[in-house]
Symmetry: C2
Subunit: 179 residues, 2 copies
């Protein structure tokens, strides 16, 4: 799937024609359909793999920065992960967000993957804020998610100043005000 | 251009083939090229029109909610505009964000429009925060932009709870902590 990764760096995943995909992957159409059944199934398989990989990095980073029972450190670690990710030379946006915004349909199986991704991030923020005794943990977790996903978009657009760092400091200030 | 608006509600703008555009618009290819020169030029013209319209609504809303020299009210009005926009039945995401994330290229003229949009929003936040004497106005303006654009994305994904309302209340809390 490395070739599909490469392709997605430079092109709109869903806008890529099946023939370009096959050429890039160096396989015959019959062989692709044998494996995945359709181009959509291939994209979904790629998103699933991306999601496992992404949360693998995320979870490992959080575990390295915070001990068990340290929800405030875990929250901060989520944003230091964001800082490290957005600073990478090969940062090319979030594959789930990009795919979802291209689809504009919640029913598409690839769209479902984007929701799984943001739901999982939301649950991460919510459970830590709840553990810290924050009373409006649902609302604050929503704003944490907005800062996190918003920083990805702001970084891509190039507006403002140091997107992930701003999000991290703002998240800290919000927590100080809430507990 | 009404027909292109309709099309963009349901489809990936840049993924739409030129023939589908022509069929929807009910014009001949020669006539389209006479007017715009290319499909890309047509999309850019549509984004320019959308931007004028969007900021027309935004500026009118802010002016109705806040008097001159009331920057705190103006900031809050930006988020009450967001609440009203995201609650609309026909809300279908932000055309600038969606187009930009499809492109993944800063050099495309349509990508430039997305940057103009977010730069203008950032300048709005920054000038009001500066007028209020906030010391870290650049950083806070970046987080305001993250909350604003993040709420659009979170609303589309359907994660969390009442995206625009959370962003509005968080923006207020940030300002109380900063002044």
């Amino acid at each position: 799937m490395q070739t599909l990764d490469t392709l997605s760096q430079t092109q709109n995943v869903l806008g890529v024609g099946i023939n370009a995909l096959l050429k890039e992957a160096g396989v015959a159409k019959a062989s692709l359909y044998d494996h995945f059944g359709s181009k959509e199934a291939l994209i979904v398989a790629w998103l699933d793999q991306q999601q496992i990989r992404w949360f693998g990095y995320f979870d490992a980073h959080v575990a390295a920065k915070a001990g068990l029972g340290e929800p405030a450190r875990e929250l901060d670690a989520a944003f230091s992960f964001l800082e490290a990710w957005l600073a990478r030379d090969d940062f090319a946006g979030c594959p789930f967000l990009t795919t979802y915004l291209q689809l504009r349909s919640a029913d598409h199986p690839a769209g479902l993957r984007a929701r799984q991704y943001s739901d999982r991030l939301y649950a991460f923020f919510r459970s830590r804020l709840h553990a810290l005794g924050v009373s409006n943990s649902r609302e604050l977790a929503t704003s944490y998610l907005e800062l996190f996903l918003g920083a990805i978009v702001v970084q891509q657009l190039g507006s403002g100043t140091r997107a992930a760092r701003s999000a991290r400091r703002t998240a800290r200030a919000l927590l100080e005000g809430a507990v």
